[in-house]
Amino acid sequence: MRQSWWKALCVVLLAYTIIGGLLLPVPRLDIVNETIRNLYFHVPMWFGMILLFFISCVYAIRYLNSGDLKEDMYSSEFIHVGILYSIMGMLTGMEWAQYTWGAAWSNDPKQLGTALVMLIYLSFLVLRGGIRDEEKRARISAVYNVFAFALMIPLLWVLPRMVDSLHPGNGGNPGFGAYDLDNSMRLVFYPAVIGWFLLGLWITTLRIRIRLIRSREEEQDLPD
């Protein structure tokens, strides 16, 4: 399934996000001001990350059902790109927080949640790295993948109930929560979410193709 229409769509949407996101009018809010434009770059990273991890978990379940090593390879590549997205989301968020909250790191539940997610998936990479046997690596990492993803969702839901949030829209802060996301911002925000997600998908498919080519080359190198 090598179609290119969605790659074109991705380029168009991201070009629109960058140009429209920086130039179109945004509501003036106290403290936040122009930094509200970070919404188009920072928040889609989180949506993208969760979606990529979700797809990875689906492939892990498919692997457990079928035992096809290709599914395992897909699953692990989605994790790699998901981790990339989590790092980008963290950096864009911390930079924004440095100027809006006065510190790059404050005890915000969303930051804590992301830090936990990053630790979970980085330890996943450590787990995979430690196992030599391919079949065994695939099975054990698929089991951990499903276990961690299924637990992560309720844990992330619990966190904000334990510590107060500084995020816009929480605890009386001015912001762009669901209720006051301005209509003009929606026009850029939704395309941005789709565009960044497609970019993540694109990067993953490229990584998967590289892996496939490499494994084919390795097979050819083997003496018959």
Binding site: V117, L119, I120, V126, R139, F147, L151, L155, L159
Partner: protein, 218 residues
């Protein structure tokens, strides 16, 4: 008389624990040494710090105690167990054994804290109850992770790095629940929080029972 395999397996683990006393005393000594280090570094802390330190020590004791559930068995022996009981029963037996062990250890831990760091509790009974809930929560998560670490032929360190991010929110919930026993603060939604924690434990057990057969296959 032939007992259900679940009881047989739990009994076997507990009997082994009792007969190989060096392992049990090793873990007890680990708990004692940890509390002693905390005492030396910090003296007798304020109640809130006391609470935080207690859960921190619980975490480390849990990693070391529960790691034994799967990691102490030689890999070849799993094949033998496979012929004795279905995987779900085997995992359940290991979880029960871990819970019993950690319940005992948390009482020992509490005793050591009382002796060395003082007892700044308003409601000791409630705190013991929360500590029991904590033992349950930590045991079930770490038992499953120790199964993963054992299958990956790794040590307790892998279990710790896999487990710490997963149990951090659980520890936060436990610390908050225990705070009610530590200081007379008004805590709305205490029962909801306790209920959520129990539901989470049920989720861990359910996931473990679904996923363990895959881990078990050779």
């Amino acid at each position: 008389m032939r007992l259900h395999p679940l009881f047989m397996l739990v009994r076997k683990d507990l009997l082994m624990e009792w007969r190989q006393q060096h392992a049990l005393f090793g873990v007890l000594l680990y708990a004692g040494a940890t509390v002693f280090v905390v005492y030396i570094m910090n003296g007798q802390p304020a109640p809130k710090v006391w609470n935080a330190l207690f859960w921190l020590v619980q975490l480390f004791v849990a990693v070391n105690a529960v790691a034994k559930s799967f990691l102490q068995e030689p890999p070849g022996r799993f094949r033998y167990y496979y012929t004795l009981a279905p995987p779900a029963t085997f995992l359940a037996a290991k979880m029960i054994y871990s819970i019993v062990l950690l319940l005992l250890l948390s009482l020992v831990n509490l005793l050591l804290f009382t002796v060395l760091l003082g007892l700044p509790l308003e409601q000791t009974g409630l705190f013991v109850l929360v500590a029991a809930l904590g033992s349950l929560s930590l045991s079930v998560v770490f038992t499953f992770l120790s199964a993963i670490a054992a299958r990956a032929q790794q040590n307790a360190a892998l279990m710790a790095i896999l487990g710490f991010p997963l149990v951090t929110p659980v520890l936060m919930m436990l610390g908050n629940l225990a705070l009610k026993a530590v200081s007379p603060v008004y805590q709305p939604g205490w029962w909801t929080l306790a209920g959520v924690l129990l539901l989470l434990d049920a989720l861990v057990v359910a996931l473990g029972i679904i996923l363990f057969p895959f881990l078990w296959q050779e």
